[in-house]
């Protein structure tokens, strides 16, 4: 299960109790974990990290490192309860207010929160393009979802984010093409025994923190099962080209494809998109359970490598 705190902070009692009940169920020590922590007088004091502030002369790559350090300092949230509710359809201005709250409250976060925070912390870097990159992967009969914030500075691609796995988050802006960046993520997935199934690329996010635009999360949807390696690469580069040309909603000509916003699941474009399975009903966080297939890997009492 995946819990979200929808009542703001401080966490209300039902949500708080649910968090501890969940921990009691999944930790081998059960309720002893809660007994040790709840009400303890000697809990360590965790300083609130300072939001990075930069001199105008600080190079962008250095700023990105500092932003990533800040995100990392908040820590990946392993509690099982997400503390900030993110509605992806909210206007950017609302999401930026939420990001500001995240910096004030300074709690552990998960990947989507890190993307929103990454946008907030890089809004003043106007020469840096930011765009969401979503992944769907498969491991031991289950599908997992993850998201990072792709960045492009001076033609070099990288990423900001947070993950359980070190290799599935920060990437320094050194990749010469978007394909190289995505292939790097694909290889990282392979190294933790996940098979990458889908990549969804969003469009560039506005730098205006008061913009009422929505983030476009899935401008290109690439199904790796249906695309040859070369077509996958081509579609990634098409997306990169569209971003470079700043092809926006109704602004300027799109790349020469019949129907860009649909799934690209085969080299034959223009067909309807039968593979767009990630509709509203399918939008669940990482670790969703699907019926196991016959290729179950050896696991540790049901342990799933989540990302």
């Amino acid at each position: 299960p995946f819990f979200v705190n929808r009542g703001g902070l401080p966490v209300d009692e039902p949500t708080w109790e649910r968090m501890w009940r969940h921990v009691g169920r999944i930790h081998p020590e059960g309720d002893r974990v809660a007994q040790r922590i709840r009400g303890a007088a000697d809990l360590p004091k965790i300083p609130i990290p300072s939001v990075p502030v930069f001199q105008p002369s600080t190079p962008i790559p250095e700023r990105l490192e500092a932003v990533q350090r800040y995100i990392r300092e908040l820590q990946y949230n392993h509690t099982g309860t997400q503390f900030f509710e993110i509605k992806k359809s909210r206007p950017l201005t609302g999401l930026m207010d939420l990001a500001k709250e995240m910096t004030k409250e300074a709690l552990p976060i998960k990947c989507l929160e890190a993307v929103i925070l990454g946008i907030y912390l890089t809004n003043n870097m106007t020469t840096l393009d930011r765009f969401p990159i979503s992944f769907k992967s498969h491991f031991s009969g289950n599908y997992f979802r993850h998201i990072v914030l792709g960045v492009n500075f001076g033609g070099r691609y990288g990423a900001l984010g947070i993950s359980r796995r070190e290799e599935l988050m920060y990437k320094a802006p050194v990749f010469r093409t978007l394909s190289e960046l995505i292939f790097d993520f694909e290889e990282a997935y392979r190294r933790c025994w996940h098979t990458l199934k889908k990549v969804k690329l969003g469009h560039c996010v506005s730098h205006d923190p008061h913009s009422v635009e929505q983030i476009e999360w899935k401008r290109s949807i690439l199904d790796l099962d249906k695309l040859s390696r070369e077509d996958f690469r081509k579609e990634l580069e098409r997306h990169a080209r569209d971003m470079r040309l700043k092809i926006g909603k109704g602004t300027g000509p799109p790349s020469p494809t019949k129907d860009r916003k649909k799934d690209v699941s085969s080299p034959q474009r223009g067909q309807a998109s039968p593979h767009r399975r990630n509709s509203r009903g399918d939008r669940r966080p990482s670790g969703e359970k699907k019926p196991a297939d016959s290729k179950a890997m050896p696991d540790l009492n049901g342990y799933q490598i989540r990302v």
Binding site: L9, P10, V11, W16, M19, V23, H27, P28, V33, I37, R38, A40, L43, P44, K45, I46, Q75, Y76, N77, H78, T79, G80, F83, E105, A106, L107, P108, R164, W193, M297, P298, D299, L300, Y303, I305
Partner: protein, 68 residues
């Protein structure tokens, strides 16, 4: 002018600082609760992070062993 109105106005004034004081107390209590929760959340996160790491390490060893 209604002779009681001035007296009523006089009676209302002392309540305002009391209401403000009450609000300030509530805010302070909320802030304390948030700080307490934050401390417990990070303590819990440390435990759960260690658990995840242990399980991941064990899994990796298993995979390496089965590979050999």
């Amino acid at each position: 002018m209604d002779p009681g109105a001035g007296a009523r106005k006089e009676r209302q004034k002392p309540r305002e600082p009391a209401a403000r004081l009450e609000k300030a107390k509530q805010r302070s209590a909320q802030q304390e609760l948030k700080q307490r929760q934050r401390a417990e959340i990070y303590a819990l996160n440390r435990v759960m992070t260690e658990l995840e790491q242990q399980q991941f390490d064990s899994f990796c060893k298993q995979m390496q062993a089965s590979g050999e």
